[in-house]
């Protein structure tokens, strides 16, 4: 396994598959929340999170 040699994985590929679903779902959920807070074009969402957007330097207005 070329890839395992270069990445120095201690576990076989099956270990990655075992956690892939929960880990990817969690990361995707996180990305959706950040999008809603920082990038959503809905005006009410922008206004409510306005100062958060500016401080996190999400592009705003």
């Amino acid at each position: 396994m070329q890839q395992q040699a270069t990445l120095h994985l201690a576990r076989p590929k099956s270990a990655l598959l075992a956690i892939a679903m929960p880990v990817l779902t969690a990361a995707l959920l996180g990305a959706v929340i950040v999008y809603g807070m920082g990038f959503s074009p809905i005006a009410a969402a922008h206004n409510a999170a306005h100062d958060t957007r500016h401080v996190n330097v999400f592009p705003c207005h």
């Binding site: 005006a43 999170a49 500016h54 996190n56 592009p59």
Partner: protein
């Protein structure tokens, strides 16, 4: 089981980091935003229209964004909503961090997650979503004039994603291929961040533009500190939470074939 643990950890980590950053920014960044909003909307309409700013209305309003839309009242309502938005944003970042640290520990098969290693993850996160995007798109005060929003959002996403991919290559790949990571990190800067000629305060009277310029540098420092505090807290807490609550779930997983 694993998913539930990751989510619960992220909720805890995000709540703590979000409240912490709310306290920090309340005394440093928020007053600067409030000061800039006094000037916001005093730009000359002709100049603003010429810069393709995506709001072409309400420039006589002190708070020029979407004046017709609902917005929180200044004061308690706004502060509370900002704190809630900070907590939610931190939970979102926390989910990604906890998931990443969990994957790292599981794939390398050693108890790596800790508050200390979490700080390194937090620093990497800060670099991806603040450090690198800010090099191309400096922190904006309310009232700043800038390139169209969609362009800046797309570039921000590009900078953050290439930062994450580049750092991952540098950190996890052995051999000469890892140096491709530097090229990946540099890619958004080769593309170039969207900017308008004339700078962020074009269209304001010269006196007002000068006053806004004096706010810009302290605002850049304030956002740097606030986001650094947020990310170090997120990283340290995430590492600690993974070691404490996610590790047992990973051990269960390893035992069941």
């Amino acid at each position: 089981m694993l998913f539930r643990r990751i989510v619960l950890c992220a909720l805890l980590v995000g709540a703590l980091a979000g409240l912490l950053v709310s306290a920090v920014q309340h005394w440093q960044a928020i007053p600067l935003i409030a000061a800039a909003e006094v000037f916001e909307g005093s730009a000359e309409p002709a100049a603003t229209a010429a810069t393709a700013h995506d709001h072409d209305h309400a420039h006589d309003d002190a708070h020029a964004h979407d004046a017709a839309e609902w917005a929180p009242e200044d004061g308690t309502e706004r502060h509370v909503l900002t704190a809630i938005a900070n907590v939610l944003t931190a939970i979102g970042f926390g989910l990604v961090l906890v998931a990443a640290i969990t994957t790292w520990e599981h794939l390398l098969g050693r108890p790596l997650a800790s508050a200390r290693s979490g700080l390194v993850w937090g620093a990497a996160g800060w670099l991806c979503v603040f450090g690198l995007p800010t090099l191309g798109l400096p922190p904006e005060l309310p009232g700043s004039v800038a390139a169209p929003l969609g362009d800046r959002q797309a570039w921000w996403l590009l900078a953050a994603c290439s930062g994450a991919a580049g750092l991952a290559l540098l950190a996890f790949v052995r051999g000469p291929k890892r140096w491709l990571g530097l090229a990946v990190i540099a890619l958004p800067f080769v593309v170039g961040a969207p900017h308008l000629a004339g700078g962020p305060f074009a269209g304001y009277e010269i006196g007002i533009a000068r006053q806004m310029e004096t706010l810009a540098a302290p605002f850049a420092i304030a956002t740097t500190i606030a986001t650094a505090v947020q990310w170090l807290a997120l990283g340290g807490l995430s590492g600690w939470a993974v070691a404490r609550w996610v590790r047992p779930a990973l051990a269960d997983l390893a035992q069941t074939p």
